[in-house]
Amino acid sequence: MIITEGLSKSFGKVKALVNIDMRAPKGIDGLIGPNGAGKTTLIHILTGLIKPDSGNVEVMGLEPWSKRQQLMKMLGVMLERPIFPQKVSGMRYMLHATRVKGLPESEAIEALREVDLLDSSERKIAGYSAGMMVRLGIARAMLGDPEMLILDEPTANLDPKGRIRLLRLFKKMHSEKGTNFLISSHILPELQKVCSWVCMMQEGKIVEQDYVDNLLDKYSSQIYTIKVSRPNELANALRNLGLQVKVKGNTIYIRGEALVIRRKVPKLIGQTDEEMISFHQLGRNLENVFIKALRRHNNRIG
């Protein structure tokens, strides 16, 4: 879906992107990194707004800088800090976007409804809050059911309810319409909920890129915890499987091969009359993956 090779971009003395080789597959992809990592610059290059100093870029088979207009027919984009003409209403702006894209005007109403902005669509954009601006940007990006949406910090400035609703909408669009996404964010738990693939960036370089499950397997600890009502009985059964086990309160800590634990432990619990309260792998989250991947990357480059 997105391929970059040796992509570099500098702004004066600041190296915004250094030799980026990225291969983002179809699906919901995430672009992770702290502020200043180069995510926005990469998105601007992917959307043809800026030209790379060197390297090749391909988004859905098109080179963005020279084929920007063609690409924008297949792509929905929401940039970070979306800025709109202030003197027009949200509805007027959406009608403008639908007409320029050559879509029926009903698309504007539908998109505004999806982002919960239809009731305030007749208000001038100047009176919109930051969260409303973001929602308007997402509504515009969604127009015409594009094959792919590139969204830069889409959940910034949204309240928790708005975030959850939006993430659900992305998942729904992907499962029902097959829409692909590239979502940039530095809120990692959010991305973990929706993304199947992520690219991690730091100081203009790619630290790691892979499917989320692969990364979680690669970087998560080999320790699992199980909370059960009577831990001692289960702990003994686990020891018999050759696993290292420690009990603290009603929590059992297990160390061993991930595959063995994942296959055998739930089965073992099923055979007993234990009530399982929780079962999870310690550190199985993108935050942990990012920290470890970054440490590894820094060690590698010395």
Binding site: F11, T41, H44, T47, G48, L49, I50, K51, R68, Q69, Q70, M72, K73, V77, M78, L79, R81, P82, I83, F84, P85, K87, V88, R92, H96, A97, R99, V100, K101, G102, L103, A141
Partner: protein
């Protein structure tokens, strides 16, 4: 939707978001008030041609050029400064189409307002609206202002500062005024105003040694600058 419809929409949206009624009213009022025909109704005795020449030497060109420079630099500069243009370019709009339509929307509006104010001024003085003098005024205004417009657009695109672009364009306008006043004094000529020189060329086909340099500066270099601004926006300008 056909390509023509989306072009029309870009033009319509540009009008709607920029040319609000109070803004248009203010500009029109300024143009009418600055017209000598309103300030000196006794000029009714003079011929239409004299009135046109008189109009050219009044405060009107200063107001007209000031409005034109501010309108162009504000529109282009603000869109670039505030990243509005960046948002527009995430729609399937050609950068070149956007530039041309934006230019046309502003230029045609100003020309139309100039036409209305000139017609109104003439009507106030002579109770008639003679076509040739009115069209001549509007045409000459448009041609002479092209230089300051092109400087304004180029600088607002390159500097990304509407204030800086407006100041430089105005400075060049006044510099030209000073130079032509000095030239008039030194050569003992009646007036070296570019507007008058172009007007004489249009109305009486009068060509002096200053005609071609003035045309070269106000039409040739202005067009070259506009083409440069166009390519800068389309090929060079990176909105980041």
């Amino acid at each position: 939707m056909a390509r023509g419809s989306s072009t029309l929409e870009i033009l319509r949206f540009e009008y709607e978001r920029t040319w609000t009624a109070p803004y248009l009213g203010l500009i029109l009022a300024l143009l009418i008030v600055s017209s000598p025909a309103v300030a000196t109704p006794l000029n009714v005795e003079e011929s239409a041609l004299d009135l046109v020449f008189f109009s050219m030497g009044s405060v009107r060109p200063i107001i007209y050029n000031l409005i034109t420079i501010v309108a162009f630099t504000n529109s282009f500069g603000m869109d670039i400064e505030q990243d509005v243009m960046m948002g527009e370019f995430t729609l399937p709009i050609k950068k070149g189409t956007f530039f041309v339509l934006k230019f046309l929307a502003i230029f045609l509006t100003i020309i139309l307002m100039d036409l209305v104010s000139a017609s109104f001024s003439f009507w106030l003085v002579s109770a008639s609206a003679p076509l040739i003098p009115i069209v001549s005024i509007v045409l000459v205004d448009a041609i002479t202002s092209l230089l300051f417009i092109s400087i304004g657009i180029s600088l607002s695109v390159m500097l990304r500062s509407r204030f800086g672009a407006a100041i430089v364009s105005l400075a060049i306008y006044f510099l030209e005024e000073i130079v032509q006043a000095n030239l008039s004094l030194q050569t003992n000529s009646a007036s070296m105003s570019p507007s008058l020189i172009i007007l004489k060329l249009l109305l009486s086909n009068e060509v002096t040694i200053y005609t071609w340099p003035i045309l070269l500066i106000h039409v040739g270099s202005a067009s070259a600058l506009l083409v440069f601004a166009y390519f800068f926006l389309v090929e060079v300008l990176q909105l980041d």
